[in-house]
Amino acid sequence: MSLLAPGKVQYILCTGNLCTREMEEYLRSLCSEVHIAQGDMDEGRYQELVALHVGSVSFAICHGHQVLPWYDETAQIALQRDLGVDVLVVGHSHKIGTIECPGGGIIINPGTATGAPRVIDLEAPKPSFVLMDIQGRKLVTYTYTLENEDDIKVDRSVVQLR
């Protein structure tokens, strides 16, 4: 992705399934703070659950295959509530989206950066990732989706955390 030049982002939060060392190297070439959670297809060894703070916002990253039933929203919300973080970043479903949790905080799924299909898919989803601009307790998220060949769609949304 030629948009992702070094120097523009300070943190990369990855939900795992990078699969190869090369992908990890690539991400580490973009910035110094790269946080990766263990996926079910990863070559490397990472933590199952990664926690960090960016400014005053707390994050947890988890691939999501550990949360049962798979792809279940309620289960994810329960995890977010247990962890008590502002933002839970999950993957696994390859489905991009944000859930606003009733108890406060959000769950973000950045989708699949490579457009890889899941084991149960017949069709590949569109590649996507999420860029988040954190200003105090305000989160501005930009969702980048590769529509076709070189058409990149950018969607902007704002979440005000309590």
Binding site: K8, L131, D133
Partner: protein, 330 residues
Amino acid sequence: MREKENGPESITELIDNNAVVDCQELRVQVWAGSTPENVRSRALLWQLLLSCLPQDKSLWEKTLSEWRTQYAEIVREIAKHPADSAPDGDHPLSLKQDSHWAHFFIVRESEKLIDLDVKRTHPTSSEFRRLEGPMHRILLAYSLQHQEIGYRQGMNELLAPLIYIYSEVPGIKSIDAEADAYHSLATVMKEMSPYYTPSLEALHKELDLLDDTLRLRDPELHRHLTSLSIRPQLYGTRWIRLWLTQEFSLQQTLILWDSILSVHPRMPWIRSICSSMVVAVRDKLLGADFNTAAQTLLRYSTNNVDVELVLKLAHAFRTGSSIQEIMSRR
């Protein structure tokens, strides 16, 4: 200190006692050896000599207010964050020409170099550590307002005496001193920008002229330096580009700047001063090998040469007095 003639008004008097300041008289007084009596007078002297402030004092309030407002506007623009100002459709990874975000990242790159240089300006002086914020803003503002030249190393050194003096003026607001220094820097850079371009043409021309000047004034010294392959290209670049801010103590540099600012056209006078600096250490240079001679000129401040002597020698060159006479009277 050189003697003043009887009777002339001091610099402070020339500025304060007249509704219209006689800049020509100011120049004559500085030329004759007068030094501004206090910081305020020096700040006003410099701004008058740079033609930033008009001679007619009734116009001062308007002039100051104009450029201070202008500067405040520039700083506001810089401080704008694309998160607040960017229109719909603009995003942090945009590479488009008119993208606020793309511009933001370009500015950030400039800032890195400015930040480094500001921290290195007069590194041992605590006054300059306090001035880092203002210097950073001024240099960034200049580079954004003059994108054809941008920020170049050395501008921080030209800015240093300006911001130092202006911020010491009793009662002045920090932001006003900043605006004044920005304006003076922009004025200085109008003259100096040919020496800050990637093409070194103007600089080399100047250095060749310096070589000629030296050959005319002190053929023996010039012969010796040439035999050692020491030419102005080696030591003169920094002297000329930085208006000698690195070669004397801060206080002595201020006196030198009074002199430099009082003369127009400036470059021939600066060259005169440069050649005088070389002549002032002729005893050290004549007996020296390449290493010693190069060090003497490259680290000129270690020679502890009195700036008054240098100015005397430069004047002598103008008036044809003998170098030997001046050197022997030290």
